[in-house]
């Protein structure tokens, strides 16, 4: 019964729950995961009461499990969100979305003079500060931060 207090939307049979999303990041998570185009059930809740964050967002995605790269994307915009994998209404895996030490492809380098912004070069970054989100470009060696971060199209 305790679960029911937290889960204000119905449970899913198979899929993923992204919990403890900061309220301002919910729609960003949807965007970076491309969930607007997802052709199955997606339940979105925001400004829900939370013991951990006071107010939180939650997204439930039916019949979808995320790749490592997708989880890195979630960690970028919603650090410390909880990823819960569900199968047959049971939690089979639950962990915090954490940034890896290296990120490839989906973020643009903030330096306009970087080669990755003028040629079709996939971007690569080392995460030099996990807490304050600071990425160092593998090519131009300049830093990209939360404030300057943009995702590739």
């Amino acid at each position: 019964m305790e679960n029911k207090k937290e889960l204000v939307v119905s449970a899913i049979e198979n899929g993923t729950v992204i919990d403890h999303i900061p309220t301002q990041s919910v729609y960003q998570v949807i965007r970076i995961l491309g969930l607007e185009k997802y052709k199955d059930e997606v339940l979105i809740g925001n400004y829900l009461n939370s013991q951990k964050l006071e107010k939180k967002g939650i997204i439930k995605i039916k019949n979808k499990h995320f790749t490592k790269e997708e989880i890195s994307k979630i960690a970028l915009v919603a650090p410390f969100a909880t990823i819960i994998n569900i199968e047959n209404y049971k939690v089979v895996d639950k962990f915090q979305a954490e940034l890896p030490d290296h990120i490839e492809n989906f973020i643009r380098c903030a330096n306009p003079k970087c080669i990755t912004n003028s040629e079709a070069v996939p971007t690569k970054f080392d995460v030099v500060d996990h807490e304050n989100l600071k990425l160092r470009c593998h090519y131009c060696e300049k830093f990209t931060t939360m404030e300057t971060m943009k995702f590739t199209e």
Binding site: C114, I115, E119, A120, C140, F143
Partner: protein
């Protein structure tokens, strides 16, 4: 067997302290005997996507003196680059024509990218404001040659410490050799905090000044750089500080006898010409040392030293 064979040199941090020293030792041999035809079966491509005088000429002189053939361009005009060819395609093509690529390109990170698509080693001859590692290597060579060692020196750096890439690379490199840094610059052009952090991380000390006279008695090396007018949003600010980073012969009284003045060149007015005749001026020899260091790098990377 040297660890340098087949390596790229893109950033000063690509080589270890031991590897810098290996290159400097090889360069010493070339200074004694620069004309050795050890690369006569090699083709070196020099791709200069933006103009350069000293760097290109010293690479080409170095390659010529070792007997290598040189192909390339000093301006992308008239090449397929102007027709819109990507850097990727240019590099893949040139790789098949040469044994080594030396590249300067205004795009930051372009050399690292070129090294990933090339099938032959790449030496970065400057990628925009990012890295220019062969300049740093020749600075190290000049410091060791004039001081007899790289260890435990007082290195003064003067001028534009904020944007000067040669300054940042030299600080990074000298952090391996227990240096103490004396930083002289207008407040607007102070060394960036990320570079100061690397000094601290190495457990070393730095001191900041706004006037050159304060560092004259302690410095073993004075590394001068140009303060550019365009770095100042307010022209009045430039006028106010522009003379604070000019070194003239009369200011050198009381300096250490072993002190030498370095400058990556071109000089404008930051070192007055009366300094040239003093025994402390070393900037022209420094530029000459660039040939020996580039010979050493090419020979080591191509595996003939």
């Amino acid at each position: 067997m040297s660890t340098l064979k087949g390596r790229n040199l893109i950033s000063i941090t690509d080589f270890s302290k031991e590897e810098y020293i290996e290159v400097l030792d090889i360069a010493e041999g070339f200074e004694k005997n620069p004309k050795q035809k050890i690369l006569s079966d090699k083709v070196v491509a020099t791709l200069f996507f933006e103009p350069s005088t000293r760097t290109r000429l010293s690479f080409e002189s170095a390659a010529n003196q070792l007997g290598a053939r040189i192909i390339g361009f000093s301006d992308p005009g008239g090449t397929s680059v102007q027709k819109g060819e990507s850097l990727h395609d240019t590099i893949v093509m040139v790789s098949s024509y040469s044994d080594l690529i030396v590249m300067r390109n205004p795009k930051e990170g372009s050399s690292r990218y070129a090294s990933e698509v090339a099938s032959v080693p790449v030496i970065n001859a400057g990628d925009g404001a990012n890295q220019h590692p062969t300049q740093c290597m020749l600075d190290l060579y000049s410091i060791r040659k004039t001081q007899g060692t790289l260890e435990n020196l007082n290195i003064a750096m003067v001028g534009d410490l904020k944007y000067g890439r040669t300054v940042h690379s030299l600080v990074q490199a000298m952090c391996n050799f227990n240096a103490t840094f004396h930083l002289v610059s207008p407040v607007e052009l102070k060394l960036p905090s990320s570079v100061k952090m690397s000094i601290k991380d190495a457990g070393l000390k730095y001191y900041q000044y706004t006037e050159i006279k304060d560092i004259i008695p302690t410095a073993d090396i004075i590394y001068m750089t140009r303060v550019q007018r365009e770095r100042f949003p307010d022209p009045m600010e430039y006028e106010r500080v522009k003379d604070s980073c000019i070194l003239s012969a009369d200011m050198l009284k009381g300096c250490k006898e072993n002190m030498r003045i370095l400058h990556p060149l071109p000089r404008v007015n930051e070192i007055t010409t009366d300094v040239d005749k003093t025994p402390y001026a070393y900037y022209f020899q420094q530029a000459q040392n660039g040939v020996y260091v580039r010979q050493a790098l090419m020979a080591a990377i191509l595996g003939v030293r």
